[in-house]
Symmetry: C2
Subunit: 239 residues, 2 copies
DNA sequence: CGAGATGTTGAGCTGACTCAACGGGAGTGG
DNA sequence: CCACTCCCGTTGAGTCAGCTCAACATCTCG
């Protein structure tokens, strides 16, 4: 069984058996964390983390105690291979709930991308998608009301989970508390609760045991004004 | 007189005379635009643009007519050299006011970074800073009220303009309309006006003829809860 | 000299916030 | 096995930052 990163990259372009094997081999140093920081502001990481199971997030804390979640790292996500150009991290990365993570020395990544150009290209593509997602989050928070905003986030998570084949029916893991959703969307936990209730009342989603079910993806997309192009999922078809 | 990109990269690490010259030589194909798109959603650009004079911005339009500005490109800014991995742009880039721009074929960039590793590293660093800025914008819009938010934006612009030596005293070009400020900060033009008046009333800034003067940078930083670390300006000192 | 773009002001409205309370479930310790 | 506590979700009621709508003032430029 190959790792999730392989699954993700395969959605971009075919990998040879050798490349897939090289990617899998990279994950020998794995460990489990639970709700703890993997990387903290000010660190200068010498390794790259790959999420194998569970979720993590990038976030920033503000002096007044507020927190903003900048991105989710779901299985198959790599926290940036380029970061070692900076002297220090300007944000932190933390596991959400329990997560299994592989630590990969940066040299291993460098060797890998040098030997296998297809992998290099795939990782590039993946990093660019992460940037595109970040841009869309800005649009989301700045321009859409809380209802549309939350629906939009769920559509995005849905598609990303589909990409790594972690959905069954309309259901997938969503290990977030309402507070964390609030820190993602820039709204209060109280308000998250009310908006979520509306989405449930309209029959769009159900949540249960840290899992979410989307009952009508198209209806949710419509509610979210969702245009999936920014995820660049079609790279394979177009290439 | 060398171009502004050279100035910017020099703030990261020294460039040899040869490297600086190579960078300058790249800008032979220049032109002037005024408030028009350089790149549009759906395009697949085969070249990279370097802003020499004036400003440009990345932006996205929404179906309901709203617009979000995602980033400003000021002199010395390159619109990403990696974008050609994607099939199509997911946002547009437009000149703000009148701007002089150099069009650089992507192959020229590739050659340059291959021949001069120091340049490659500098461009890397610059791209990473752009990402860091984008993350901070998300924090800004999601977590800070409109007053703090606007002050924060002005602090950032101030430091970026300083980096490319485009400030004189506390004054610098700010070719933005209040509507564009609104599209940047996620607030109404009407509200931009009122917040701006408050910043003026408190003696923090003055605007006149599309130029801004900051009268007390420290006071403005305090009002903005501004922490400049995300701009990674100290790369040189730390390295 | 007219027209569109930009900036300014006033007045009323509303989406999201604050504060405060309560319920249920999971873990912990006695 | 119960009592306690903490975390998380839920609900209600009042408040406010920022919005909408609408008018008007300036300015630029053809």
């Amino acid at each position: 069984m190959s790792n999730t990163l392989t699954t993700k990259l395969t959605s971009f372009s075919d990998l040879s058996a050798e490349e897939a094997a090289a990617l899998d081999a990279v994950c020998n140093d794995t460990f489990t964390v639970k709700g703890r920081d993997l990387i903290r502001v000010g660190d200068r990481p010498e390794q790259v983390f790959l999420v194998l199971n569970g979720w993590a997030c990038r976030y920033k804390d503000l002096p007044d105690g507020k927190r903003q979640i900048l991105a989710y790292l779901i299985p198959g996500d790599l926290c940036d291979p380029h970061i070692f150009i900076f002297e220090q991290m300007d944000h932190s990365i933390r596991a959400i709930g329990e997560a299994r993570v592989a630590a990969i020395p940066k040299q291993v990544i460098l060797d890998l991308t040098e030997r296998y150009p297809a992998l290099a290209r795939g990782l590039w593509w993946s990093a660019l998608v992460d940037e595109a997602v970040s841009r869309e989050w800005l649009v989301n928070v700045a321009q859409r009301d809380s209802y549309t905003r939350m629906a939009h986030l769920f559509c995005e998570i849905w598609l990303r989970m589909c990409q790594v084949k972690l959905t069954t029916g309309g259901t997938f893991d969503l290990p977030l508390t309402q507070e964390q959703l609030g820190d993602t969307l820039g709204i209060t936990p109280v308000h998250v609760n009310r908006v979520l209730q509306r989405l449930r009342a309209e029959g769009l989603v159900t949540t249960r045991d840290r899992r979410m079910t989307i009952h009508d993806v198209d209806a949710l997309k419509a509610a979210a004004e969702f245009d999936p192009r920014y995820l660049h999922l079609d790279a394979r078809a177009a290439a």
